[in-house]
Symmetry: C2
Subunit: 220 residues, 2 copies
DNA sequence: GAATTTGGAAAATGACCATAGTCGAAAATG
DNA sequence: CATTTTCGACTATGGTCATTTTCCAAATTC
């Protein structure tokens, strides 16, 4: 008695079969919307342009995602998972502390200095007044989570006696700032291209050394 | 034979005297526009709302500032002078290097962690795709100039042998990042209030110590 | 082929906006 | 009071946009 089936099950229904599943269409739309919002901001983006970019009609667009607000939120939600940096203790175990921190900073830099990431960040910053939920969600899921991961690692190094830090959260915040603020801001303002991997590595090396020296000396 | 007088000289003209000078009206409008753009972004702001906030008619608004673009540029231009940090060598001369750096960081923090400053920064970041001139101008006049001032000071300390830095520009960038990125971003995302002066001072102290220790140790 | 279902193209709707222009009430001079 | 000037209230125009609706050409089953 399964009256309700998957709406898109392939072999039922008499009419014209769907070109794509709604899932796929949804993806197309969200990708298109990301590009459009990125180029024009929330208020400047046009639903019509999104539909064109996605290659669907506005009718389909509105069937899948019913309002512009919902579309914007979908775009952010779709990307938010990519803003988290994982720190894998075991992969770093065989490295000395400076090399390990370098690795962590490189991972963080690759993530946050990527031009797509910066595009989303700009969107969030621009619109978080209009969509406080998005600001909060992004901050919790991306900024805070990366910070916590770093702080946890720093705290562990302290417990191992390799480091002396009063406040690992603050230390993590400073590390992130010294690593990415300047280049990220320059990219966001259109004053330079996103840095290549070798620049990120160079920067990470200098940051790691300066930071660790700063802490070790403080301990002495 | 002075035929052309000041357009608003108080005692000529037979008709109704102007309520304000055009200068004053212009100020009113720019202030109102700052609030409106800040609240709604460029595309979302309405000229009508700006006029209402300023308490003038749209006619007057357009007489003083002829287009929305020009208004936006006026808002940014009006504020851009406030984003520059001056470093007064003589005022710092009697301090040791750590105290001096602390002072510099406090000045920089007060400037860049102020909620009005952050509002303008958000505007610039949001709209610098639409107004590349604004992005460039802001970057040159604010970001770069502050950075240069700091780098110059750092370089001088190196020459005095108090510091060992390969790249003072990079050092200045890192200092700024560690000092302000995290709190500035949290404020911009609406996740906290702008920090009070004592928090800024605490942060400056920690930054200065960590940074100087980092550099000195690198020299040893 | 008839019935049925899909989704694109295009137009319709109702709102808001930048910008320009008209009108007239107020306030000063002579 | 007549004249002159300022400026706000109101209206108009041409445009864009989000959202809805209509119409229709496939594509599939029976």
């Amino acid at each position: 008695m399964t009256i309700v089936e998957n709406a898109k099950s392939p072999c039922r229904g008499r009419g014209r079969p769907p070109v794509r599943t709604d899932e796929e269409t949804r993806d197309l739309i969200v990708q298109a919307a990301r590009a459009e919002f990125d180029a024009s901001g929330y208020a400047g983006a046009s639903m019509c342009a999104v539909a064109q970019r996605a290659g669907v009609s506005t009718k389909t667009l509105y069937r899948i995602i019913p309002t512009k607000d919902a579309l914007f939120e979908s775009v952010i939600a779709d990307r938010i998972g990519r803003f988290i940096i994982e720190i894998d203790e075991r992969a770093l175990a065989h490295l000395d502390i400076e090399q390990a921190l370098e690795r962590i900073l490189v991972a963080f830099g690759r993530l946050t200095l990527d031009s797509k990431t910066i595009g989303i960040l700009r969107l969030v910053l621009s619109e978080c007044e209009r969509f406080p939920e998005i600001g909060r969600h992004f901050y919790e899921a991306a900024v805070k989570r990366s910070g916590d991961a770093m702080a946890l690692w720093l705290d562990e190094q302290c417990r191992k006696g390799l480091l002396d830090l009063e406040d690992p959260q603050l230390g993590a915040a400073m590390l992130r700032g010294m690593m990415i603020m300047e280049p990220q801001r320059a990219v966001m303002m259109g004053q330079r291209e996103a840095p290549e991997i070798d620049e990120i590595e160079r920067r990470a090396k200098i940051c790691a050394r300066l930071f660790l020296n700063g802490c070790r000396s403080a301990a002495a």
